[in-house]
């Protein structure tokens, strides 16, 4: 009897102890998770600050618009910034229509079936192709076999293949977010399917779609590995530095950051590298902010709600 009481007392004490222990573990784990999350964000903040610290001294009007210097110090990255935007626009011109059309097809027309499955799987596979593998493909097919040479076009087509899947997914998600009542209302008013999509569905999908496109633009802007041997690693020096010819070699800013380092011919490689890295970072930040703001604005304007 006494024994039984003792046992139950130990049990209770044990239970009390373990409850305290469990609460301690809980607090500890919570603290650890907080610490890890804060650490990541702090790391990022440190990152950004460090890059500003490194690169701020490089940035000047001359740096942003001037011609790169071939051998001496003091060059700029004007043509490289131009080429980054130029290739971005060429890429979007090809990517957006195809990805939009495919996204509409999968989301609005073909919800099941083998064709849909195959397209979906193709897109997912395409999305995982490493960019250097795509770059090798681009070099052999577009640059060499099709004789386009190192050119803005070869770079843009390679980037198109690389970014189509992401853009298609953006379209699909945007369309999936449109309430079914929009479609039903339009159909009830006698609209055909296509009319429904164009008049009722797309306008309310434009907002999130724009957000997605701008975010992907940030990625295209910073892509490097796929461009080294497709768009090339040089710009002409003379009057042709701002060059709209899609068949001319077009080194982008991200490639320039890699290539000036790997060539190291100019004495101020670090200055150019730090400056280029900062410009790339700031562009990514701008793309991120613009994506949010424009997406929200467009949604408000085109659908009349926020």
């Amino acid at each position: 009897m006494a024994q039984a009481v003792a046992v139950s007392e130990t049990r209770e004490r044990k239970a009390a102890n373990s409850a305290r222990g469990r609460r301690a573990v809980d607090r500890l784990a919570t603290g650890a998770l907080w610490a890890m999350a804060l650490f990541v964000v702090l790391l990022l903040a440190l990152f950004v600050c460090y890059m500003f610290y490194l690169g701020a001294g490089s940035i000047s009007w001359h740096f942003l618009t001037g011609l790169p210097s071939e051998l001496t110090a003091g060059g700029g990255v004007g043509p490289e910034i131009f080429n980054s935007f130029y290739i971005l626009i060429l890429t979007l011109l090809m990517t957006v229509p195809i990805a939009l059309a495919a996204g509409i097809f999968l989301q609005e027309y073909s919800r099941t079936g083998l064709f849909r499955e195959t397209v979906q799987f193709s897109a997912e596979s395409l999305a995982t192709v490493p960019s250097i593998v795509m770059g090798l493909f681009g070099l052999l097919v577009f640059v060499q076999t099709l004789r386009w040479g190192f050119s803005a076009l070869a770079g843009a087509v390679t980037l198109t293949l690389l970014n189509l899947p992401a853009l298609m997914r953006v379209t699909q998600e945007a369309l999936a977010g449109v309430p079914a009542t929009y479609r039903e209302a339009s159909m009830a008013l006698g609209g055909t399917k296509w009319q429904t999509i164009v008049r009722a569905v797309l306008p309310s999908a434009v907002g999130p779609m724009t957000t997605g496109i701008v975010l992907i633009s940030g990625r295209i802007f910073g892509e490097t590995a796929a461009l080294i041997y497709t768009a090339g690693t040089s710009v002409a020096h003379g009057n042709g530095a701002y060059d709209f010819n899609p068949f001319h070699t077009a080194e982008t800013l991200a490639v320039h950051l890699w290539y000036t380092h790997s060539e190291a011919l100019i004495p101020d490689v670090d200055r150019i590298g730090n400056g280029s890295a900062l410009v790339l970072l700031v562009m990514v930040l701008i793309f991120n902010v613009v994506a949010r703001v424009v997406g929200r604005q467009l949604t408000v304007r085109l659908t009349g709600k926020g």
Binding site: E70, L71, L139, V143, Q144, R147, G149, F150, L153, G232, T233, S234, V235, A236, H237, G238, N239, G240, D243, N245, P246, F247, H248, T249, E251, Y259, H261, S262, E263, A264, L265, V269
Partner: protein, 279 residues
Amino acid sequence: MSRTALAALLLGAALAAPAVASADTSLTAAGSTALLPLVKASAEAYQNQHNDLKISVTGGGSRVGITQVAAKAVDLGMSDILAKGYPDLVDHRVCVVGFSVLTHPGINVKNVSKKQLQDIFAGKITNWKDVGGADVKIVVINRPRSSGTRAVFTQTIMGDVPVSETGLTEDATGTVITAVRTTPGAISYAAFSGTKKFEGGHYTTVEGIAELSIDNVAPSEENVQTGKYPIWSYEHIYTNGVANKDESRFLAFIQSNSAIIHQLGYILFRDMKVNETDR
């Protein structure tokens, strides 16, 4: 109607693009980073004088130059080595360049024998104290396979001895110099155009590195001209087929500008007292 117009417009644009491409003339050069400074400086000077030709010049290494000019991805392929096995490529020799063996300055070695050099690059000698220097581990810095400089170094110094790959590999002449400067115990090889600068009428080694003599022969312009110093080569620019008008113009411009050639650390053919075949 508007759809037809759009189609016509797109078709027109597609057809017009290559036409635009061929209407204005541009030259692209790629390849050897040993020859890169000369071609870049020449392109800059040429475009300052003439504005009818756009020239873009990039590195990559000699094999990149040969491969890409053979594939017609570029117009001019720069190389330190002969393009063997490419019957379509036409060789335009530009100048001669010497290659220094360069080290981090902290090792206290000024001279090595050819045998010692082979052992260092083969990974048999691993500390500078074994060749009379400071007690510092040797870090061998190589160029990748695409490099003609590596090919010339292997050919003239290593022979059949395999090069140890365990150190760093650097993409270009310029990065080799940066890496040697920042890595204690480092040793590598690079063209005079990267290791020397021309000031006040003569050459000096660039800051932060040291150049080694080989069997007591210093890596100097004179020693290359007389053939006493072993590591040098002809610098080639290849065109795919006979050079066209623009290519010829630019090639002639490079070859004629002996002042630039000399100042950038290259050697003129007329100053050479030996042939590559004599080496």
